[in-house]
Amino acid sequence: MPDSKLITLSEAVARFTWDGMQYASGAALPVGSDAIVFGRELLRQQRRDLHAVFHCNSQQLNLLAAMGAVTRAECGFSGLEVFGFANGLRRAVETDRLVLEDYSNLSMPLRLLGGALGWPFVPATVNIGSDIQDRSAFAPGHYPSREKIPTVVDPFSGRTIGVFRPLTPDLAAIHVTLADPLGNAIMLGTEWSRFELSRAAKKVVLIADAIVDTGCMRQFPNLVRIPDIIVEAVVHWPFAAWPQGSPGMYDIDEAHMTLMNRALATEAGTEAYVRDYVHGFRDIASYLDMIGRETCARLSGTATGFLLDPYRQWLLPDGGMLA
Protein backbone atom coordinates (compact mmCIF):
# COMPACT_ATOMS: atom_id res chain seq x y z
CA MET A 1 0.00 0.00 0.00
CA PRO A 2 1.64 3.28 -1.09
CA ASP A 3 2.00 5.99 1.52
CA SER A 4 -0.31 8.95 1.85
CA LYS A 5 1.07 12.17 0.39
CA LEU A 6 -1.14 14.41 2.51
CA ILE A 7 0.84 17.21 4.11
CA THR A 8 -0.09 20.58 5.57
CA LEU A 9 -0.20 23.80 3.56
CA SER A 10 2.70 25.33 5.48
CA GLU A 11 4.80 22.21 5.03
CA ALA A 12 4.11 22.18 1.28
CA VAL A 13 5.28 25.77 0.87
CA ALA A 14 8.30 25.19 3.12
CA ARG A 15 9.38 22.05 1.27
CA PHE A 16 8.63 22.87 -2.36
CA THR A 17 9.18 26.62 -2.81
CA TRP A 18 12.16 28.95 -2.62
CA ASP A 19 13.04 32.55 -3.45
CA GLY A 20 13.71 33.16 -7.13
CA MET A 21 11.99 30.00 -8.34
CA GLN A 22 9.80 29.64 -11.39
CA TYR A 23 6.41 29.14 -9.82
CA ALA A 24 3.31 28.05 -11.72
CA SER A 25 -0.18 27.91 -10.35
CA GLY A 26 -3.14 26.36 -11.92
CA ALA A 27 -5.44 26.33 -13.49
CA ALA A 28 -5.03 30.04 -12.92
CA LEU A 29 -8.45 30.93 -14.18
CA PRO A 30 -9.20 34.55 -13.33
CA VAL A 31 -12.43 33.85 -11.51
CA GLY A 32 -12.33 30.06 -11.19
CA SER A 33 -10.19 27.20 -10.09
CA ASP A 34 -6.81 28.31 -8.76
CA ALA A 35 -4.80 27.41 -5.66
CA ILE A 36 -5.19 30.87 -4.18
CA VAL A 37 -4.62 29.77 -0.59
CA PHE A 38 -1.17 28.55 -1.66
CA GLY A 39 -0.34 32.13 -2.65
CA ARG A 40 -1.47 33.36 0.79
CA GLU A 41 0.94 30.86 2.37
CA LEU A 42 3.77 31.96 0.04
CA LEU A 43 3.34 35.44 1.50
CA ARG A 44 3.17 34.12 5.08
CA GLN A 45 6.54 32.44 4.46
CA GLN A 46 7.82 35.65 2.80
CA ARG A 47 8.83 34.16 -0.54
CA ARG A 48 10.44 36.77 -2.83
CA ASP A 49 11.54 37.31 -6.40
CA LEU A 50 9.23 34.70 -7.87
CA HIS A 51 9.04 34.15 -11.62
CA ALA A 52 5.33 33.48 -12.04
CA VAL A 53 3.97 31.28 -14.83
CA PHE A 54 0.22 31.76 -14.86
CA HIS A 55 -1.90 30.75 -17.84
CA CYS A 56 -4.10 33.65 -16.72
CA ASN A 57 -3.83 36.08 -13.90
CA SER A 58 -5.98 35.21 -10.89
CA GLN A 59 -6.50 36.80 -7.50
CA GLN A 60 -3.40 34.84 -6.43
CA LEU A 61 -1.08 36.57 -8.89
CA ASN A 62 -2.89 39.84 -8.22
CA LEU A 63 -2.08 39.46 -4.50
CA LEU A 64 1.52 38.25 -4.96
CA ALA A 65 2.18 41.12 -7.40
CA ALA A 66 0.61 43.71 -5.09
CA MET A 67 2.97 42.56 -2.31
CA GLY A 68 6.02 42.69 -4.57
CA ALA A 69 6.68 38.95 -4.24
CA VAL A 70 6.78 38.45 -8.03
CA THR A 71 9.38 40.20 -10.20
CA ARG A 72 8.74 38.40 -13.51
CA ALA A 73 5.53 36.95 -14.87
CA GLU A 74 4.34 35.26 -18.04
CA CYS A 75 0.61 35.32 -18.75
CA GLY A 76 -1.99 34.87 -21.45
CA PHE A 77 -4.47 37.20 -19.79
CA SER A 78 -3.83 39.68 -17.00
CA GLY A 79 -7.30 40.84 -15.95
CA LEU A 80 -10.08 39.49 -13.74
CA GLU A 81 -12.67 39.02 -16.51
CA VAL A 82 -15.95 40.72 -15.59
CA PHE A 83 -14.42 41.94 -12.29
CA GLY A 84 -12.20 44.23 -14.36
CA PHE A 85 -8.50 45.01 -14.27
CA ALA A 86 -6.32 43.27 -11.69
CA ASN A 87 -5.31 46.27 -9.62
CA GLY A 88 -2.38 44.70 -7.77
CA LEU A 89 -0.83 43.32 -10.93
CA ARG A 90 -1.40 46.47 -12.97
CA ARG A 91 0.14 48.64 -10.25
CA ALA A 92 3.23 46.43 -10.16
CA VAL A 93 3.53 46.54 -13.98
CA GLU A 94 2.92 50.29 -14.31
CA THR A 95 5.60 51.05 -11.67
CA ASP A 96 8.01 48.59 -13.33
CA ARG A 97 8.37 46.48 -10.18
CA LEU A 98 7.17 43.45 -12.14
CA VAL A 99 8.13 42.65 -15.72
CA LEU A 100 5.18 41.05 -17.50
CA GLU A 101 5.71 39.05 -20.69
CA ASP A 102 2.51 38.76 -22.70
CA TYR A 103 1.24 35.66 -24.44
CA SER A 104 -2.29 34.48 -25.19
CA ASN A 105 -4.67 31.91 -23.76
CA LEU A 106 -3.64 29.35 -26.39
CA SER A 107 0.08 30.02 -26.48
CA MET A 108 0.53 29.51 -22.72
CA PRO A 109 -0.88 25.94 -22.67
CA LEU A 110 0.93 25.14 -25.94
CA ARG A 111 4.19 26.17 -24.25
CA LEU A 112 3.31 23.93 -21.29
CA LEU A 113 2.52 21.08 -23.69
CA GLY A 114 5.90 21.62 -25.34
CA GLY A 115 7.57 21.44 -21.93
CA ALA A 116 5.58 18.34 -21.03
CA LEU A 117 6.65 16.55 -24.22
CA GLY A 118 10.26 17.68 -24.06
CA TRP A 119 9.95 19.41 -27.42
CA PRO A 120 12.68 21.92 -28.39
CA PHE A 121 10.04 24.41 -29.54
CA VAL A 122 6.35 24.61 -30.36
CA PRO A 123 5.12 25.83 -33.76
CA ALA A 124 3.22 29.10 -33.49
CA THR A 125 0.25 29.80 -35.73
CA VAL A 126 -1.14 32.36 -33.29
CA ASN A 127 0.52 35.40 -31.65
CA ILE A 128 2.59 35.91 -34.83
CA GLY A 129 2.02 39.14 -36.75
CA SER A 130 1.02 41.02 -33.61
CA ASP A 131 2.95 42.88 -30.92
CA ILE A 132 2.81 39.75 -28.78
CA GLN A 133 5.54 38.58 -31.14
CA ASP A 134 7.19 41.94 -31.89
CA ARG A 135 7.42 43.27 -28.32
CA SER A 136 9.25 41.48 -25.51
CA ALA A 137 9.28 42.76 -21.94
CA PHE A 138 12.03 40.25 -21.06
CA ALA A 139 14.22 41.35 -24.02
CA PRO A 140 13.07 44.97 -24.43
CA GLY A 141 15.99 46.24 -26.50
CA HIS A 142 14.93 44.88 -29.87
CA TYR A 143 12.03 45.87 -32.09
CA PRO A 144 10.68 43.89 -33.74
CA SER A 145 11.76 41.26 -31.21
CA ARG A 146 12.73 37.86 -32.54
CA GLU A 147 13.94 36.58 -29.18
CA LYS A 148 10.52 35.88 -27.73
CA ILE A 149 8.81 34.19 -30.68
CA PRO A 150 11.53 33.57 -33.28
CA THR A 151 10.75 32.30 -36.76
CA VAL A 152 11.63 29.06 -38.54
CA VAL A 153 10.86 27.75 -42.01
CA ASP A 154 8.28 24.98 -42.04
CA PRO A 155 10.15 22.19 -43.88
CA PHE A 156 6.91 20.86 -45.36
CA SER A 157 5.31 24.01 -46.74
CA GLY A 158 8.34 26.30 -46.98
CA ARG A 159 6.36 28.91 -45.07
CA THR A 160 7.90 31.04 -42.32
CA ILE A 161 6.20 30.43 -38.97
CA GLY A 162 6.84 31.40 -35.35
CA VAL A 163 8.04 29.18 -32.53
CA PHE A 164 7.22 29.26 -28.83
CA ARG A 165 9.67 28.51 -26.05
CA PRO A 166 8.43 25.52 -23.96
CA LEU A 167 7.79 25.97 -20.24
CA THR A 168 9.02 23.69 -17.44
CA PRO A 169 8.25 25.49 -14.17
CA ASP A 170 10.03 24.42 -10.98
CA LEU A 171 6.74 23.81 -9.24
CA ALA A 172 3.07 23.71 -10.16
CA ALA A 173 0.63 24.21 -7.29
CA ILE A 174 -2.51 22.87 -8.89
CA HIS A 175 -6.00 23.37 -7.55
CA VAL A 176 -8.25 20.34 -7.99
CA THR A 177 -11.75 19.56 -6.79
CA LEU A 178 -11.02 16.09 -5.47
CA ALA A 179 -7.81 14.24 -4.66
CA ASP A 180 -7.16 10.98 -2.90
CA PRO A 181 -4.36 10.73 -0.32
CA LEU A 182 -2.06 9.21 -2.97
CA GLY A 183 -2.32 12.16 -5.34
CA ASN A 184 -4.87 11.06 -7.93
CA ALA A 185 -7.10 13.98 -8.88
CA ILE A 186 -10.49 14.67 -10.43
CA MET A 187 -11.31 18.17 -11.67
CA LEU A 188 -14.90 19.32 -12.09
CA GLY A 189 -15.40 22.05 -14.66
CA THR A 190 -12.99 22.91 -17.43
CA GLU A 191 -9.50 21.66 -16.70
CA TRP A 192 -8.17 24.73 -18.60
CA SER A 193 -4.45 23.77 -18.78
CA ARG A 194 -4.00 21.64 -15.69
CA PHE A 195 -3.30 18.48 -17.71
CA GLU A 196 -0.36 20.04 -19.58
CA LEU A 197 0.81 21.94 -16.49
CA SER A 198 0.92 18.79 -14.37
CA ARG A 199 3.25 17.18 -16.95
CA ALA A 200 5.35 20.27 -17.69
CA ALA A 201 6.26 21.17 -14.10
CA LYS A 202 9.30 19.61 -12.44
CA LYS A 203 7.23 19.05 -9.29
CA VAL A 204 3.48 19.03 -8.65
CA VAL A 205 1.62 19.77 -5.43
CA LEU A 206 -2.15 19.36 -5.45
CA ILE A 207 -4.38 21.64 -3.40
CA ALA A 208 -7.73 19.86 -3.14
CA ASP A 209 -11.07 21.23 -1.99
CA ALA A 210 -11.93 17.76 -0.71
CA ILE A 211 -10.22 14.42 -0.17
CA VAL A 212 -11.80 11.19 -1.37
CA ASP A 213 -11.04 7.54 -0.85
CA THR A 214 -9.02 5.91 -3.65
CA GLY A 215 -12.11 3.81 -4.38
CA CYS A 216 -13.50 6.92 -6.07
CA MET A 217 -10.61 6.95 -8.52
CA ARG A 218 -11.08 3.26 -9.26
CA GLN A 219 -14.75 3.96 -10.04
CA PHE A 220 -13.96 6.85 -12.42
CA PRO A 221 -10.43 6.22 -13.75
CA ASN A 222 -11.20 7.96 -17.05
CA LEU A 223 -11.78 11.18 -15.14
CA VAL A 224 -8.48 11.05 -13.25
CA ARG A 225 -6.51 13.42 -15.48
CA ILE A 226 -3.71 13.86 -12.94
CA PRO A 227 -2.44 10.48 -11.67
CA ASP A 228 -0.50 9.99 -8.43
CA ILE A 229 2.73 8.96 -10.16
CA ILE A 230 3.53 12.59 -11.07
CA VAL A 231 2.41 14.17 -7.78
CA GLU A 232 4.74 14.98 -4.86
CA ALA A 233 2.23 16.02 -2.24
CA VAL A 234 -1.43 16.66 -1.56
CA VAL A 235 -2.79 19.51 0.56
CA HIS A 236 -6.40 19.39 1.68
CA TRP A 237 -7.88 22.85 1.93
CA PRO A 238 -11.61 23.58 1.64
CA PHE A 239 -12.44 26.76 -0.29
CA ALA A 240 -8.84 26.73 -1.59
CA ALA A 241 -9.84 28.90 -4.58
CA TRP A 242 -11.82 31.42 -2.53
CA PRO A 243 -12.90 34.12 -3.37
CA GLN A 244 -12.96 32.50 -6.80
CA GLY A 245 -15.32 29.64 -7.55
CA SER A 246 -14.91 25.88 -7.88
CA PRO A 247 -17.55 24.08 -9.99
CA GLY A 248 -19.51 21.55 -7.99
CA MET A 249 -18.19 22.94 -4.70
CA TYR A 250 -18.80 26.67 -4.27
CA ASP A 251 -19.66 29.82 -6.18
CA ILE A 252 -17.60 32.97 -6.56
CA ASP A 253 -17.69 35.24 -3.50
CA GLU A 254 -18.63 38.33 -5.50
CA ALA A 255 -18.37 40.76 -2.58
CA HIS A 256 -14.90 39.58 -1.61
CA MET A 257 -13.68 39.56 -5.23
CA THR A 258 -14.53 43.27 -5.37
CA LEU A 259 -13.24 44.04 -1.85
CA MET A 260 -9.95 42.27 -2.53
CA ASN A 261 -9.32 43.91 -5.90
CA ARG A 262 -10.19 47.32 -4.49
CA ALA A 263 -7.76 46.77 -1.59
CA LEU A 264 -4.94 45.72 -3.90
CA ALA A 265 -5.23 49.03 -5.81
CA THR A 266 -3.16 50.83 -3.13
CA GLU A 267 -0.19 50.08 -0.87
CA ALA A 268 -2.22 50.81 2.24
CA GLY A 269 -5.13 48.69 1.08
CA THR A 270 -2.78 45.82 0.29
CA GLU A 271 -1.20 46.01 3.76
CA ALA A 272 -4.61 45.91 5.39
CA TYR A 273 -5.70 43.04 3.17
CA VAL A 274 -2.59 41.00 4.02
CA ARG A 275 -3.07 41.66 7.74
CA ASP A 276 -6.70 40.54 7.62
CA TYR A 277 -6.74 37.79 4.99
CA VAL A 278 -3.20 36.45 4.74
CA HIS A 279 -2.27 36.52 8.43
CA GLY A 280 -5.91 36.27 9.49
CA PHE A 281 -6.01 32.47 9.90
CA ARG A 282 -3.95 29.71 11.53
CA ASP A 283 -5.60 26.57 10.22
CA ILE A 284 -8.56 25.37 8.17
CA ALA A 285 -11.09 26.11 10.91
CA SER A 286 -9.95 29.69 11.40
CA TYR A 287 -9.73 30.11 7.61
CA LEU A 288 -13.40 29.19 7.29
CA ASP A 289 -14.19 31.53 10.20
CA MET A 290 -12.34 34.28 8.34
CA ILE A 291 -14.48 33.74 5.22
CA GLY A 292 -17.52 33.52 7.49
CA ARG A 293 -19.37 30.29 8.12
CA GLU A 294 -22.60 31.74 6.75
CA THR A 295 -20.83 32.85 3.59
CA CYS A 296 -19.33 29.37 3.22
CA ALA A 297 -22.77 27.83 3.51
CA ARG A 298 -24.24 30.26 0.99
CA LEU A 299 -21.44 29.74 -1.55
CA SER A 300 -21.71 25.95 -1.11
CA GLY A 301 -25.33 26.16 -2.19
CA THR A 302 -24.10 26.48 -5.78
CA ALA A 303 -26.40 25.44 -8.62
CA THR A 304 -23.50 23.27 -9.81
CA GLY A 305 -23.66 21.18 -6.62
CA PHE A 306 -25.18 18.24 -8.49
CA LEU A 307 -21.84 17.82 -10.30
CA LEU A 308 -20.42 16.50 -7.03
CA ASP A 309 -23.19 13.96 -6.45
CA PRO A 310 -21.50 10.93 -8.08
CA TYR A 311 -18.46 11.38 -5.82
CA ARG A 312 -20.05 12.21 -2.47
CA GLN A 313 -20.03 8.66 -1.12
CA TRP A 314 -16.20 8.65 -1.18
CA LEU A 315 -15.64 12.00 0.54
CA LEU A 316 -13.44 11.65 3.64
CA PRO A 317 -15.02 13.98 6.19
CA ASP A 318 -11.82 14.80 8.07
CA GLY A 319 -9.86 15.45 4.89
CA GLY A 320 -8.23 12.03 5.16
CA MET A 321 -5.74 13.13 7.81
CA LEU A 322 -6.95 10.47 10.25
CA ALA A 323 -7.23 7.75 7.63
Binding site: V82, Y103, S104, N105, V126, S130, Y143
Partner: protein
Protein backbone atom coordinates in the same frame (compact mmCIF):
# COMPACT_ATOMS: atom_id res chain seq x y z
CA UNK B 1 -40.01 52.25 -33.66
CA UNK B 2 -39.77 49.60 -31.04
CA UNK B 3 -42.50 49.70 -28.47
CA UNK B 4 -39.89 49.36 -25.76
CA UNK B 5 -37.12 51.52 -24.44
CA UNK B 6 -33.70 49.97 -24.87
CA UNK B 7 -30.07 50.97 -24.23
CA UNK B 8 -27.27 51.56 -26.72
CA UNK B 9 -25.48 48.55 -25.28
CA UNK B 10 -28.53 46.39 -25.90
CA UNK B 11 -28.68 47.60 -29.50
CA UNK B 12 -24.98 46.75 -29.89
CA UNK B 13 -25.55 43.25 -28.50
CA UNK B 14 -28.57 42.64 -30.74
CA UNK B 15 -26.76 43.94 -33.84
CA UNK B 16 -23.84 41.64 -33.00
CA UNK B 17 -26.14 38.70 -32.41
CA UNK B 18 -27.79 39.23 -35.80
CA UNK B 19 -24.40 38.45 -37.40
CA UNK B 20 -24.48 34.91 -35.96
CA UNK B 21 -26.13 32.34 -38.22
CA UNK B 22 -27.91 29.19 -37.15
CA UNK B 23 -25.74 26.09 -37.08
CA UNK B 24 -22.41 27.91 -36.91
CA UNK B 25 -19.53 26.82 -34.71
CA UNK B 26 -19.08 29.90 -32.55
CA UNK B 27 -16.83 31.07 -29.73
CA UNK B 28 -17.79 33.95 -27.44
CA UNK B 29 -15.39 36.00 -25.35
CA UNK B 30 -16.19 36.88 -21.79
CA UNK B 31 -18.51 39.73 -20.84
CA UNK B 32 -20.88 41.47 -23.23
CA UNK B 33 -19.72 39.33 -26.18
CA UNK B 34 -21.09 36.29 -24.38
CA UNK B 35 -24.50 37.96 -23.98
CA UNK B 36 -24.61 38.82 -27.70
CA UNK B 37 -23.75 35.25 -28.66
CA UNK B 38 -26.20 33.57 -26.33
CA UNK B 39 -28.85 36.10 -27.37
CA UNK B 40 -28.44 34.83 -30.95
CA UNK B 41 -28.88 31.28 -29.70
CA UNK B 42 -31.98 32.22 -27.71
CA UNK B 43 -33.51 34.16 -30.60
CA UNK B 44 -32.69 33.10 -34.18
CA UNK B 45 -29.85 30.59 -34.03
CA UNK B 46 -31.04 27.75 -31.78
CA UNK B 47 -28.65 25.28 -33.39
CA UNK B 48 -25.55 27.46 -33.04
CA UNK B 49 -22.72 25.29 -31.70
CA UNK B 50 -21.45 27.58 -28.96
CA UNK B 51 -18.34 27.19 -26.84
CA UNK B 52 -16.18 29.21 -24.50
CA UNK B 53 -12.41 29.24 -24.66
CA UNK B 54 -12.26 27.20 -21.47
CA UNK B 55 -13.71 24.23 -23.32
CA UNK B 56 -17.23 24.51 -21.93
CA UNK B 57 -19.65 23.00 -24.44
CA UNK B 58 -23.41 22.70 -24.67
CA UNK B 59 -24.01 25.31 -21.97
CA UNK B 60 -26.16 28.40 -21.68
CA UNK B 61 -25.74 31.03 -18.96
CA UNK B 62 -27.89 30.57 -15.86
CA UNK B 63 -28.48 33.38 -13.38
CA UNK B 64 -27.09 36.26 -15.44
CA UNK B 65 -23.87 37.35 -17.11
CA UNK B 66 -21.13 34.85 -16.22
CA UNK B 67 -18.22 36.41 -14.33
CA UNK B 68 -15.81 34.47 -16.51
CA UNK B 69 -15.47 31.73 -19.08
CA UNK B 70 -15.52 29.05 -16.39
CA UNK B 71 -17.89 30.67 -13.92
CA UNK B 72 -20.49 28.41 -12.33
CA UNK B 73 -23.11 30.42 -14.24
CA UNK B 74 -21.85 28.75 -17.44
CA UNK B 75 -20.88 25.43 -15.83
CA UNK B 76 -24.34 24.52 -14.53
CA UNK B 77 -25.72 22.89 -17.66
CA UNK B 78 -22.69 21.99 -19.79
CA UNK B 79 -22.58 18.73 -21.71
CA UNK B 80 -18.78 18.65 -21.96
CA UNK B 81 -15.84 20.19 -20.13
CA UNK B 82 -12.47 19.94 -21.83
CA UNK B 83 -9.61 22.45 -21.87
CA UNK B 84 -8.02 25.49 -23.51
CA UNK B 85 -5.94 23.62 -26.09
CA UNK B 86 -9.08 21.82 -27.21
CA UNK B 87 -11.29 24.90 -27.56
CA UNK B 88 -8.81 27.56 -28.69
CA UNK B 89 -6.50 25.13 -30.49
CA UNK B 90 -8.33 22.15 -31.99
CA UNK B 91 -11.52 24.07 -32.68
CA UNK B 92 -10.34 27.65 -33.34
CA UNK B 93 -6.64 27.90 -34.31
CA UNK B 94 -7.23 24.94 -36.61
CA UNK B 95 -9.55 27.11 -38.72
CA UNK B 96 -12.67 25.12 -37.90
CA UNK B 97 -14.56 27.82 -36.01
CA UNK B 98 -16.99 29.90 -38.11
CA UNK B 99 -17.28 33.00 -35.98
CA UNK B 100 -15.86 34.55 -32.82
CA UNK B 101 -16.90 37.62 -30.86
CA UNK B 102 -14.20 39.65 -29.12
CA UNK B 103 -14.04 42.98 -27.28
CA UNK B 104 -11.50 45.79 -27.53
CA UNK B 105 -10.08 48.65 -25.48
CA UNK B 106 -8.95 50.27 -28.74
CA UNK B 107 -9.49 49.40 -32.38
CA UNK B 108 -7.97 51.03 -35.45
CA UNK B 109 -8.89 51.69 -39.08
CA UNK B 110 -7.72 48.21 -40.13
CA UNK B 111 -9.49 46.40 -37.30
CA UNK B 112 -6.39 45.77 -35.18
CA UNK B 113 -7.28 45.46 -31.51
CA UNK B 114 -5.37 46.68 -28.46
CA UNK B 115 -6.29 45.22 -25.06
CA UNK B 116 -2.78 45.31 -23.60
CA UNK B 117 -2.03 48.86 -22.49
CA UNK B 118 -2.18 52.60 -23.03
CA UNK B 119 1.18 54.30 -23.57
CA UNK B 120 1.88 58.04 -23.70
CA UNK B 121 2.75 58.22 -27.39
CA UNK B 122 4.58 55.54 -29.36
CA UNK B 123 6.33 52.77 -27.46
CA UNK B 124 9.60 53.40 -29.32
CA UNK B 125 12.43 51.03 -30.18
CA UNK B 126 12.81 49.81 -26.59
CA UNK B 127 9.83 48.23 -24.94
CA UNK B 128 8.62 50.00 -21.81
CA UNK B 129 5.65 49.29 -19.57
CA UNK B 130 2.40 51.07 -20.41
CA UNK B 131 1.11 54.04 -18.46
CA UNK B 132 -2.11 52.09 -18.00
CA UNK B 133 -1.92 48.33 -18.05
CA UNK B 134 -5.02 46.60 -19.46
CA UNK B 135 -5.96 42.91 -19.56
CA UNK B 136 -3.71 41.51 -22.27
CA UNK B 137 -4.85 39.40 -25.20
CA UNK B 138 -6.50 36.44 -23.47
CA UNK B 139 -8.07 34.22 -26.11
CA UNK B 140 -8.86 37.11 -28.46
CA UNK B 141 -5.52 36.85 -30.29
CA UNK B 142 -6.17 33.16 -30.94
CA UNK B 143 -9.71 33.86 -32.13
CA UNK B 144 -8.52 36.75 -34.34
CA UNK B 145 -5.96 34.42 -35.95
CA UNK B 146 -8.14 31.34 -36.29
CA UNK B 147 -11.86 32.09 -36.56
CA UNK B 148 -13.21 32.28 -40.12
CA UNK B 149 -14.66 35.65 -39.24
CA UNK B 150 -14.34 37.80 -36.15
CA UNK B 151 -16.85 40.28 -34.78
CA UNK B 152 -15.44 43.10 -32.68
CA UNK B 153 -17.82 44.60 -30.13
CA UNK B 154 -16.77 47.93 -28.63
CA UNK B 155 -18.25 51.14 -27.18
CA UNK B 156 -17.96 53.93 -29.75
CA UNK B 157 -15.75 56.62 -28.17
CA UNK B 158 -12.91 58.70 -29.67
CA UNK B 159 -10.34 57.26 -27.24
CA UNK B 160 -11.20 53.77 -28.45
CA UNK B 161 -11.38 54.41 -32.22
CA UNK B 162 -7.82 55.38 -33.14
CA UNK B 163 -6.04 55.71 -36.47
CA UNK B 164 -3.38 53.18 -35.43
CA UNK B 165 -3.28 51.23 -32.19
CA UNK B 166 -0.06 51.58 -30.16
CA UNK B 167 0.07 47.83 -29.54
CA UNK B 168 -1.58 45.12 -31.62
CA UNK B 169 -2.86 42.52 -29.15
CA UNK B 170 -5.10 40.79 -31.71
CA UNK B 171 -4.47 41.19 -35.44
CA UNK B 172 -7.05 42.65 -37.78
CA UNK B 173 -5.84 43.47 -41.28
CA UNK B 174 -2.51 44.84 -39.91
CA UNK B 175 -1.42 47.59 -42.38
CA UNK B 176 -4.36 46.86 -44.67
CA UNK B 177 -4.61 45.34 -48.15
CA UNK B 178 -3.29 41.78 -48.16
CA UNK B 179 -0.85 42.33 -45.25
CA UNK B 180 -2.59 39.62 -43.24
CA UNK B 181 -1.78 36.96 -45.85
CA UNK B 182 1.95 37.12 -44.90
CA UNK B 183 1.16 35.06 -41.81
CA UNK B 184 -1.03 32.36 -43.33
CA UNK B 185 -3.72 32.65 -40.64
CA UNK B 186 -6.61 30.25 -41.21
CA UNK B 187 -8.99 32.99 -40.02
CA UNK B 188 -10.28 35.61 -42.43
CA UNK B 189 -10.07 38.60 -40.09
CA UNK B 190 -12.66 40.95 -38.64
CA UNK B 191 -15.94 40.97 -40.59
CA UNK B 192 -17.49 43.84 -38.64
CA UNK B 193 -16.93 46.25 -35.78
CA UNK B 194 -20.24 46.60 -34.00
CA UNK B 195 -20.41 49.60 -31.69
CA UNK B 196 -22.81 51.49 -29.46
CA UNK B 197 -23.46 53.83 -32.44
CA UNK B 198 -23.38 51.66 -35.57
CA UNK B 199 -21.63 49.03 -37.66
CA UNK B 200 -18.32 49.33 -39.55
CA UNK B 201 -17.23 46.87 -42.23
CA UNK B 202 -13.95 46.53 -44.14
CA UNK B 203 -13.49 47.66 -47.75
CA UNK B 204 -13.01 44.59 -49.97
CA UNK B 205 -9.52 45.61 -51.18
CA UNK B 206 -8.02 48.21 -48.85
CA UNK B 207 -9.49 46.51 -45.77
CA UNK B 208 -10.06 49.92 -44.23
CA UNK B 209 -13.14 49.96 -42.02
CA UNK B 210 -16.00 52.08 -43.39
CA UNK B 211 -19.29 53.10 -41.88
CA UNK B 212 -21.86 50.57 -42.98
CA UNK B 213 -24.82 51.34 -40.75
CA UNK B 214 -26.08 53.56 -37.98
CA UNK B 215 -28.76 53.05 -35.36
CA UNK B 216 -32.10 54.80 -34.90
CA UNK B 217 -30.61 56.95 -32.10
CA UNK B 218 -27.31 57.81 -33.90
CA UNK B 219 -26.29 59.45 -37.18
CA UNK B 220 -23.31 59.75 -39.51
CA UNK B 221 -22.09 63.01 -37.97
CA UNK B 222 -22.08 61.62 -34.42
CA UNK B 223 -20.26 58.47 -35.52
CA UNK B 224 -17.62 60.41 -37.45
CA UNK B 225 -17.10 62.72 -34.48
CA UNK B 226 -16.41 59.70 -32.28
CA UNK B 227 -13.96 58.03 -34.69
CA UNK B 228 -10.26 58.90 -34.63
CA UNK B 229 -9.70 58.56 -38.38
CA UNK B 230 -11.41 60.06 -41.40
CA UNK B 231 -14.19 57.50 -41.53
CA UNK B 232 -15.50 56.88 -45.04
CA UNK B 233 -19.14 56.15 -45.71
CA UNK B 234 -19.94 52.90 -47.51
CA UNK B 235 -22.12 53.42 -50.64
CA UNK B 236 -24.65 50.98 -49.18
CA UNK B 237 -24.70 52.59 -45.72
CA UNK B 238 -28.15 52.49 -44.13
CA UNK B 239 -30.00 52.55 -40.87
CA UNK B 240 -30.19 49.35 -38.80
CA UNK B 241 -33.70 48.14 -37.93
CA UNK B 242 -34.53 48.69 -34.27
CA UNK B 243 -34.77 45.68 -31.94
CA UNK B 244 -38.03 43.82 -32.19
CA UNK B 245 -39.98 42.98 -29.06
CA UNK B 246 -39.00 39.34 -29.54
CA UNK B 247 -35.31 40.26 -29.80
CA UNK B 248 -35.41 42.39 -26.67
CA UNK B 249 -37.27 39.71 -24.76
CA UNK B 250 -34.71 37.07 -25.80
CA UNK B 251 -31.78 39.32 -24.92
CA UNK B 252 -33.19 40.16 -21.51
CA UNK B 253 -33.78 36.51 -20.70
CA UNK B 254 -30.05 35.92 -21.28
CA UNK B 255 -29.01 39.18 -19.61
CA UNK B 256 -30.85 38.29 -16.42
CA UNK B 257 -28.76 40.59 -14.21
CA UNK B 258 -29.17 43.56 -16.56
CA UNK B 259 -25.49 44.09 -17.45
CA UNK B 260 -26.52 45.72 -20.74
CA UNK B 261 -29.22 47.89 -19.22
CA UNK B 262 -26.83 49.91 -17.09
CA UNK B 263 -26.53 53.35 -18.65
CA UNK B 264 -22.99 54.64 -18.48
Amino acid sequence: MSAQDYTRQEMMAIATGREIRDGELAIFGVGLAMLAGYFAQAHHAPRVRAMTEGGVYGATPVGGLPWGIECNRISTNATSFTNAIDALGCLVASGRCDVGIIGAAQVDRFGNVNTTGIWDGRIGETYRPPKTRLTGAGGANDIACGAKRTLIMVAHEPKRFVDKVTYISSPGYLEGGDARSRYGFPGGGPAAIITTLGILRPHAETREFMLDAWFAFSDVAEIKANTGWDLKLSPEAAIVPEPTDAELAALRRVDETGALRKRS
